[in-house]
Symmetry: none
Subunit: 212 residues, 4 copies
């Protein structure tokens, strides 16, 4: 069962309280990690910001690494659930892609802090901050790429798209472009306005995929 996805009503008051505390700790940690980086944040600092004693923090997370893992994995799950939904809902493939870009953009906008951590980790850019974390994230990411590839595959089968490349490669290409454009938008808003992102990307892809 994905972390933290559980019917809330079944939890006792005690358990709900615990979950809330855990969330507060994770929020404090997220904020500090994004501001200052994993190694420049101390457990004391996190406990202080979350307004718990250091011992209490250690009751919830075995050690600093454990806390970090939980943080990254939960956010990653949130993103991938959102993306899967975004892709699943519409009928038309172009509409699926459009939806996926929009939802990813919203997530980036709302979780910019987290996003940077996620990328550093999932794309192997993090100096192996945590052994194995990349692998777990990479796996989640690959599942998503497969889903995206299946969209291309479907559209090709139905002759909606030309088979100009492997579906998986197209998925890689599209996702990397979306990331690049979203980063561009978030870091250089004057270079690229948010609403332009889907159009700019889809222009390129549809010009290539749909014979005129």
């Amino acid at each position: 069962m994905p972390n933290g996805v559980m019917k809330v009503e079944t939890l006792s008051r005690r358990e709900r309280e615990k979950l809330r505390q855990r969330q507060e700790m994770l929020n404090a940690a997220l904020q500090l990690f994004t501001e200052k980086g994993y190694h420049n944040v101390s457990m004391h600092e996190i406990a202080g910001k979350a307004e718990f004693a250091i011992g209490t923090l250690y009751k919830f997370f075995r050690n600093k690494e454990d806390l970090y893992r939980a943080l990254v994995l939960e956010q990653s799950d949130k993103l991938h659930v959102a993306l899967a939904t975004a892709i699943g809902e519409p009928e038309d493939e172009i509409e699926k892609l459009n939806n996926y870009i929009r939802v990813k953009g919203e997530f980036f906008r709302d979780n910019y802090a987290m996003i940077r951590i996620y990328f550093a980790e999932s794309h192997g850019l993090s100096f192996n901050l945590m052994a194995g974390l990349d692998a777990e994230l990479r796996e989640r990411y690959e599942r998503f790429l497969a889903l995206l590839a299946s969209v291309f595959e479907g559209a090709m089968k139905r002759k909606r798209f030309r088979r100009i490349a492997e579906p998986y490669h197209l998925a890689v290409a599209l996702d990397s472009m979306v990331n690049a454009f979203l980063f561009l938008w978030l870091t250089n808003p004057d270079r690229l306005h948010g609403p332009e992102v889907p159009g700019a990307i889809l222009d390129i892809f549809s010009k290539a995929l749909i014979s005129s």
Copy 2:
């Protein structure tokens, strides 16, 4: 004087020796940083691996940050010089792009360790490991993007390419795709063979840019 660009013959034996030592230190550091991450590598460890005393390491680099900076900036310069040459030489635009992808691929293959550090830093994924480093790298990267954009611009002016998007946006799109494919190739060689990379990418781009 540009970093490391100097006629080797003009150096005294002493100077050449120094340069060699410096290189050994940087190599040891690079290997350790990539294996374990900046914060998980101690100066003692680097000195040990390079087989120098800790004091000697500090003769060459004022502090750990200085060492890291040197590492990243030198590699970044090497890459960008190579890319600029690759783009500059051919006449035909498709050939320029082809050349750029090939050279970048070679650099990735030969410097995989470094590449990961470079990306983390230049794409703002590094939690501000070093104040200002990202800015310096970002600037170098932007200069390169402008060069790449000028290739699209030129080809559009000459009607070789359709104006399906801003040249700068196309540069961003292309570069992000190249990175994604190269990472795919290096991390999942079974998913994508090296020689296929240029073709796969150029297929998409030329289908989109050149009206059939």
Copy 3:
């Protein structure tokens, strides 16, 4: 709140315990500093001698400098409070001077270790061990000299003493002599017995100040 001036009964057991620990650390530090000198004593050594972990030492004193400052300032305050009382209580001026010499002597005897540090610092002999420390001590010292000078001033106004020199200069002269004699007594007890000190000094001063 003045340093260390607080009704002891108002402190909780916890607080009293803390104060005791702090004292133990300061005592260990004082002993080591006097034996080996500030720069020849490491924080580890102090922690070891006080039988605390190094981390605990740093809980009480932000850094080595902070520890040293506390040491010197606390003792200086103790001395000056004692001297001010000694001078304030008697009516007769000769009695005031007598009292001051006696009290200072007792303090020297009981805190010989500290005294040497105090002198080095307050008389500018410390090579600026700590920026500003001398200034702070010098200021306390000047306040004391002014008090001592006022004794001479008063006695002169009442014609008890001849005005053979500026009151402030007499204060300087007297205090330096007292220090010299006390050091002589403490380092060469065979040259000068403790009980002789006040007499020896007051002989000189009264012969000069009181016309026969």
Copy 4:
């Protein structure tokens, strides 16, 4: 033979050159020690300021301690030779004392830098910066005190001074007062003008020693 006191003409060119180099090193060291304190000056810094290689510095002084010793002892010798001469020349005792105060004042004025080091060391205020140094200096100092005491002794024998205290104690008293006044003059020139020093001190002493 006291350090460095030797007929210069008897030295070969080589030897004279060496002595000059040695002096340059000591001068550089003196300046740095006084500015920053023994422990805050590195041997490299001294070598650098004196414009010699570090190895050359070590040819002249076995180690840092040795260099420091040489520095302090030479200066101490210079002072004591000057004082002995000042006391020896005049016939009259008051004139001797006057001369001694004047010469000591000139030395303080010209060597303020050194003076502070000398005091810290010779008065045991230096945290035993160097084991044994204080003893050596103390011995020189005691020789001087004996000389000064003999002046009082002589004058008492000749009934020029009243025997109000032990001659040795008077020597201690006078010297401590001279030091105090000279420090006052050098650190607070507005509190006490240089030329006033001898008068202020002798006023007190002659009032006490010479019956009116």
